[in-house]
């Protein structure tokens, strides 16, 4: 029992920063086995574009992939023999990597051991005891009332629990792999370097062409440069606003170049399409009534707590039927105006029949109100019905753009804000009194 409890080492997941996860080190199982393979440094980054020779190629996009292939493989003898030759930085790194590996191995062992115990306790077969079963067992044995799932006890493979370590950015002799390592933002400055060399090559191509002949075209009109944040995630580096504007200026120069067609692919990689306004949102289906008239049923018209459904029938006599009443369902003239507004805009007033049902909007008033005074929520009801009418008209062939510009097709998702304690209403505070 004692041993099983020890084996069941519960770990609480530490907060792993996402940024660190980008680059990892993978030291294989046979790290200390006597492999005959010679030392190959972690500089496994392969050049992705063989066409350009003079520029050293470092692709920062597939950094992770590069590290996966270029795993460090060292023998114990190598370590001993090269102690004199390898740099101190590399030596420290290797030591750190070894310690980490040892730690992970212990953890792995404990995990396997603990899992077996757990399977035993739960009376399950160890062979078919999957991670799912582990989670279930932990949930059963250590019930937790904590709200945050991340705070509850877990038992997972150590690879999932402990953060991965960053790969070595330098070789055995301590030389960094990346030529721009000492700029502190190697990927960013490497990109700038690449762009300038592209401009230079374009200039060579356009030796005879004068600048003024270049014609502004709008081949990039539908897209925009990627934002600073996007660029940061792509480069895996933090950049400042000034750096971003420099980068933009450089790209503008490429775009303004008369021979920019040669580098279209490169430019497009850093542009993203503008969000296209869906001009024709899905129109509601039209039903053919038995009497040959066309009708559109708009089911869910909402505003605050009002829910309405509207039936627009064409051709009609201009009849309104709102909860069984005519337009006088709305006591306020402004509300009647709101309801007939889309019809006026579409020039359909008097030509369509409207049938609407609306619920909600207010609690029933305790005191009866005078005839001219509307019930609470009447305006919300009017706006809900107006939305339904506008959508029905749009489906029946009215000018959608006009209705959209007038704002009648926008669904109003806003809700009443709740009253807060310590306040008179949602936001309002009581009048301050000295005492």
């Amino acid at each position: 029992m004692n041993s099983s409890a020890k084996a069941l080492q519960l770990v609480t997941r530490s907060r792993v920063s996402a940024a660190v996860c980008g680059s990892t080190v993978r030291i294989p199982r046979n790290f200390f086995s006597s492999s005959t393979e010679s030392t190959s440094t972690a500089g496994g980054t392969t050049s992705s574009d063989p066409s350009s020779q003079n520029v050293p190629q470092f692709s920062f996009e597939n950094n992770a992939a590069a590290e996966a292939t270029g795993a460090i493989k060292l023998t114990k003898e190598d370590l001993d023999s090269k102690r004199g030759t390898i740099s101190k930085a590399m030596h420290a790194y290797l030591k750190r990597a070894k310690e980490h590996q040892e730690f992970m191995d212990t953890q792995e062992k404990e995990f396997v051991f603990g899992r077996r115990h757990l399977a035993n306790m739960m009376g399950k077969d160890i062979e078919s005891f999957t991670q799912k079963d582990v989670d279930e067992a932990i949930r059963y044995l250590f019930p937790s009332g904590l709200y945050e799932p991340k705070a509850r006890p877990i038992m997972r493979p150590p690879q999932e629990v402990y953060p991965k370590q960053k790969a070595a950015q330098f070789d055995m002799s301590g030389r960094p792999h990346h030529p721009f390592f000492y700029t502190a933002k190697p990927n960013f400055y490497y990109l700038l370097h690449e762009m300038v060399s592209k401009i230079n090559s374009l200039n060579k191509l356009a030796a005879g062409v004068s600048r003024s002949e270049s014609v502004e075209d709008d081949s990039f009109s539908g897209s925009t440069w990627i934002s600073k944040e996007d660029l940061e995630t792509r480069l895996l580096e933090k950049i400042t606003d000034q750096m971003y504007s420099e980068w933009l200026a450089c790209f503008e120069r490429i775009v303004a170049h008369p021979k920019k067609d040669k580098e279209l692919e490169f430019i497009k990689a850093y542009r993203k399409p503008l969000a296209v306004q869906s001009k024709t949102s899905e129109l509601l289906p039209i039903t053919l009534e038995p009497d040959g008239r066309k009708s559109v049923h708009v089911p869910m018209c909402m505003k605050k707590s009002v829910r309405a459904d509207v039936l627009v029938t064409v051709p009609g006599t201009g009849e309104f039927k709102i909860n069984g009443q005519g337009l006088d369902f709305f006591k306020l003239i402004s509300n009647r105006e709101a309801v007939i507004a889309p019809l006026q805009l579409a020039k359909m007033l008097g030509k369509v029949d409207i049938e609407a049902n609306c619920q909600g909007g207010s609690k029933t008033p305790e005191k009866p109100k005078s005839p001219g005074c509307p019930d609470n929520g009447e305006t919300a009801r009017a706006i809900a019905v107006r939305w339904g009418i506008a959508n029905g008209l749009a489906a029946l062939g009215a000018d959608v753009e006009k209705l959209r510009l007038a704002g009648y097709l926008v669904k109003d998702y806003r809700q009443r804000e709740r009253k807060k304690p310590g306040k008179e209403s949602a936001r309002r505070t009581w009048t301050w009194k000295k005492r």
Partner: protein, 401 residues
């Protein structure tokens, strides 16, 4: 869209007085401007009937405006709320008094015409939605009654006696009863203005001696106007004079000496408690203890002949908690219903499509609507829909605010 009808802006274009459209079939409301211009000479204000005598109004004038002579208008309506205040203000601006001839009015008129005055009185009850024109039709009937030489007992708006009443004093003659003083004086003054000529002409005399107080006596055989004048000069006795006058008129009508037309607006107010009417002990006076109420209720009974009773039931005459329905059974309550049963109900509805166009035409002709879009089809449609064809709402929409 074209909301600001009230803008007294300079009219951008003057359109000839429209239109011949009104009396055409309902589905052809909007004639082209060409046809309007062609008819403009002969039908200047086609929506106006040339008839000014209400007796001669018939189906031919349905949906058109007839005008009331200024003398008669001043006599019948101006002094004491004969027509609703908003309408009277409008008349002042227009410098003429035009009333739309509507179907309920013609129906009512025909019924009164056909009535046998030798039988007990018939009660007509006008009912309908708020602002649909009940009071206007009632007021128009006063013109008709005046022309037909009925003695008018015109009680224009009962809430003036209930929640808007002026002064309540304990009665001097009846134990436990209370009198309206100022209201009764106003009524008697109005009665005198409306009927003085007719009373002189018919020479109606009192059937017995009336002792108002120790020294104040109206002799038997004196003119009925003597009672009225006494009431006007002695407000304390005004309500009692009113009651006596009603009784006298009922008796004289039954003896076929005269014809009496009783007009009352919002009678359902008489059957409800009114918390504003308080006695000397600052307690509410129940409706059964008010002399004026008793006098009016006495008029509505069928125990007399040679007259006609036309009343309206109006939910605006009541407090807010009694406004659930506009139907007479609800508004009159059990007491009122039993008093009026049987009666002839006449429903007053909102304007028809033709009537609202006529009214808009009339407002345009009076240059009351000045927005350039008001005369267009869109403007008319907007007015029609915003008002939901309700006469009062249309009036308010077209008013300057």
């Amino acid at each position: 869209m074209f909301r600001n009808f009230h803008f007294r802006a300079v009219k951008t274009f003057a359109r000839p007085l429209n239109s011949k459209k009104s009396l055409k079939s309902e589905n052809k409301l909007f004639c082209s401007s060409a046809s309007v211009t062609s008819n403009s000479q002969e039908s200047s204000g086609f929506f106006k009937a040339s008839e000014t005598n209400p007796v001669h109004l018939n189906e031919k004038h349905l949906g058109r405006f007839y005008s009331i002579d200024n003398d008669i208008y001043q006599k019948l309506y101006v002094q004491y709320h004969g027509f609703p205040l908003e309408y009277r203000e409008q008349c002042k601006v227009f410098r003429e008094q035009c009333v739309l001839v509507r179907k309920p009015y013609l129906d009512l008129k025909r019924c009164v015409d056909a009535m046998d005055l030798k039988k007990p009185v018939v009660r007509f009850v006008l009912h309908g939605a708020d602002g649909s024109g009940k009071s206007m039709i009632l007021g128009s009937m006063a013109h008709y009654g005046y022309t037909k030489e009925f003695i008018l007992i015109h009680i224009p708006w009962i809430p003036l006696w209930t929640r808007y009443c002026k002064e309540i004093v304990p009665s001097t003659t009846r134990e436990g009863f209370h009198d309206h003083t100022i209201n009764a004086v106003q009524f008697l003054t109005n009665f005198k203005t409306q009927n003085a000529e007719l009373l002189q002409k018919l020479n109606l005399v009192t059937s017995k001696e009336y002792q108002w107080s120790k020294r104040e006596v109206t002799e038997q055989g004196s003119n009925l106007l003597a009672i009225v004048e006494h009431g006007i000069s002695r407000p304390v006795h005004a309500t009692e004079c009113m009651y006596t006058l009603f009784k006298e008129l009922k008796a004289q009508s039954s003896e076929e000496k005269c014809k009496t037309m009783v007009l009352a607006d919002g009678v359902n107010g008489l059957f409800y408690d009114c918390k504003w009417i308080k006695g000397a002990d600052r307690k509410m006076v129940p409706p059964s203890n008010l002399t004026a109420y008793e006098a009016m209720k006495d008029l509505f009974k069928t125990d007399w002949k040679g007259g006609v009773v036309i009343v309206t039931v109006d939910r605006i005459a009541l407090d807010l908690e009694f406004r659930e329905s506009t139907l007479p059974r609800y508004l009159l309550k059990k007491e009122g219903w039993e008093l009026f049963d049987p009666f002839v109900p006449i429903e007053v509805t909102n304007y028809t499509a033709q009537e609202i166009q006529t009214t808009i035409d009339y407002y345009l002709e009076r240059k009351w609507l000045q927005h350039p879009a008001a005369s267009t089809e869109e403007g008319r449609l907007e007015l029609e829909y915003l008002s939901t064809r309700n006469p009062r709402t249309l009036m308010e929409l077209c008013n300057s605010r």
